[in-house]
């Protein structure tokens, strides 16, 4: 059953009183868990839970020809499926705009932050490069699939190992892995999606809050240790946002990145160690 007028109104009332149904602060996220290496045939994989929302992501690699305008760089393809498993509202069929949008936002964050050094994924300039496939799948929808997906994707990338490459046959030996990680830089993006409901701005909405959302802004932020940078943004849903509100959101994104990046990256590092 989708949200009713009554609940929408109540959520607004509560938020104005500074409260949420589950007792969180307006800018607090739900309990976060990150596991990596959850699918052993993948080069890299991760499972992220934000409250009851769950997304899994996997990295697979292959070799191919480079794009003609980027002859010395590897390539990357990012996909997301809203699995019918995860919600009675999702159907089978080719990805619809919701899935496409999330995949493209996640892709932009990763690409523009330069998290991956694509030049190091070049095998032979103009002829052979590595292709990275990042496939994300929703497992349980309880709101905020976007942020959970973005986090699953980077956790999978950070903990991936390169597959073995047979130089003679010029093919990947699928199923055999090296110990080498992907060429990853320090600029790892974290994505925060803020939702405007009435006059309030919240982070990490649950299912009902998401249905009551009037406008949302997703921001991917990364840092090289010295400066934080915004690498991707997307304003979505139908209501308009005032410039002051947008400034507030941008500041909050930077603040949230600074507050949570260390903890999140440590969680990802730790997940690797427990697997070994």
């Amino acid at each position: 059953m989708e949200i009713s007028n009554l609940t929408k109104k109540r959520i607004k009332d509560y938020l104005e009183a500074g409260k949420r149904f589950d007792g969180r602060g307006l800018l607090d996220h739900r309990k976060l868990t990150i596991e990596t290496g959850i699918s052993i045939n993948a080069e890299g994989s991760a499972r992220v839970r934000l409250g009851k929302t769950e997304v899994v992501a996997g990295v697979k690699m292959d070799v191919s020809e480079p794009y003609t305008d980027h002859e010395g760089e590897g390539t990357m393809i990012t996909t997301l499926e809203l699995l019918p498993l995860s919600s009675e509202e999702f159907d089978y069929g080719p990805p619809k705009i919701d899935a496409i949008e999330i995949a493209r936002i996640v892709d932009r964050g990763i690409r523009e932050s330069k998290m991956i050094d694509f030049e190091k994924l070049c095998i032979k300039e103009g002829e052979k490069v590595w292709t990275l496939f990042i496939d994300m799948y929703t497992m349980n929808d309880d709101g905020n699939l976007l942020d959970a997906s973005a986090l699953a994707a980077i956790a999978a990338l950070m903990t991936a190992r390169m597959p073995k490459y047979d130089e003679e046959k010029e093919k990947v030996s699928f199923g055999e892995f090296t110990k080498d990680p992907l060429p990853i830089t320090k600029n790892i993006p974290l994505t925060f999606t803020f939702h405007k409901i009435g006059k309030s701005i919240i982070l990490d909405p649950g299912r009902e809050e998401e249905a009551a959302s009037e406008a949302r802004v997703s921001i991917a932020v990364s840092s090289d240790g010295k400066e934080t940078r915004v690498n991707a943004m997307q304003k979505g849903n139908e209501a308009a946002i005032k410039p002051e509100e947008m400034f507030e959101i941008i500041d909050l994104a930077e603040k949230k990145y600074k507050e949570s990046s260390k903890e999140i990256f440590e969680m990802i590092e730790k997940s690797l160690k427990t697997k070994k």
Binding site: M1, E2, S4, N5, L6, T7, K9, R10, D13, Y14, A17, G18, K19, F21, G23, G25, L26, I201, E248
Partner: protein, 261 residues
């Protein structure tokens, strides 16, 4: 207002102190043999297979006397005549409202069963799409479920909040003769309507009161397997009221945070 199952056997409480009762309630899986012998009769979600009575559904096997039935613990709401449920208006036709009551079948509230005067040319004046209504199940047929909004405490729900629980836990939340829900209503100072379909409406004067009632209900549903739950809930409610900081938000902090934004 308490939702009562008018055509049902009296609502039973799980984990009652009655030792005899407890012994008769074993967790069974579909296909499992519960009893053997011609003297037994299959009740809800049970079936006779030769000499055996088997469970058709995952749940607790209840053997009171000769009748063997299964009390489901999980699964979607199965509507019964007389159930009071809470539903949402999905669409409006020329002669009524199409409702969603979270049931396997389509449900419909005809014009004639509206709780107040209806303008036949504009049904939305009475109930509009997205409105939440407390309605009663008049009948369950192949084609769908017939509803009525005429009756005490039925009709459009205004203000308040909606929460959803597993419909199989509703008897626990209501309690024996309403003891549990009345306790929660009193302690939280809220109006509460519990739909048999697991949808619950809570309305209080203050946001805090509604959140308190919600927490109490969730406490009951999470602990539904425990014995002496009414007593335990009483204790929990007392503690929660005396130490509001533990469960409620610290209001002063929230206010500061808001002001600094």
């Amino acid at each position: 207002m308490i939702a009562k199952q008018e055509t049902e056997e009296p609502v039973e409480e799980f984990g009652q102190e009655d030792e005899e009762r407890k012994e008769k309630r074993e967790l069974v899986i579909p296909g499992e043999v519960i009893a053997t012998g011609n003297e037994y009769l299959p009740g809800d979600w049970a079936k006779r297979e030769g000499q055996d009575i088997i469970a058709l559904r995952f749940g607790l096997a209840d053997k009171s006397g000769r009748l063997i039935k299964i009390i489901p613990l999980s699964g979607t709401y199965m509507p019964r005549k007389g159930n009071v449920v809470i539903g949402k208006v999905l669409d409006i036709t020329f002669n009524g409202w199409i409702m969603d009551i979270d049931a396997p079948y389509a449900s419909f509230l005809p014009l004639s069963e509206c709780s107040k005067f209806v303008n036949k040319n504009d049904l939305s004046e009475c109930y509009d799409i997205g409105d939440m209504l407390a309605v009663k199940v008049l009948g369950v047929k192949r084609k769908g479920i017939d509803l009525t909004a005429r009756g005490k405490n039925l009709g459009k729900l205004e203000e308040g909040m909606i929460i959803r629980i597993n419909s199989n836990k509703v008897p626990r939340v209501i309690g024996k003769e309403g003891s549990m829900i009345n306790l929660i209503k009193k302690e939280s100072n809220c109006d509460i309507t519990v739909g048999q379909n697991g949808i619950i409406w809570i309305r209080g004067e203050k946001v805090e009161d509604e959140l308190f009632a919600e927490k109490a209900i969730l406490f009951v549903t999470e602990k539904s397997f425990i014995e002496g739950l009414t007593e335990k809930t009483k204790v929990w409610l007392e503690e929660a009221k005396n130490h509001p900081k533990d469960i409620k938000e610290d209001k002063t902090e929230k206010k500061k945070a808001k002001e600094s934004k």
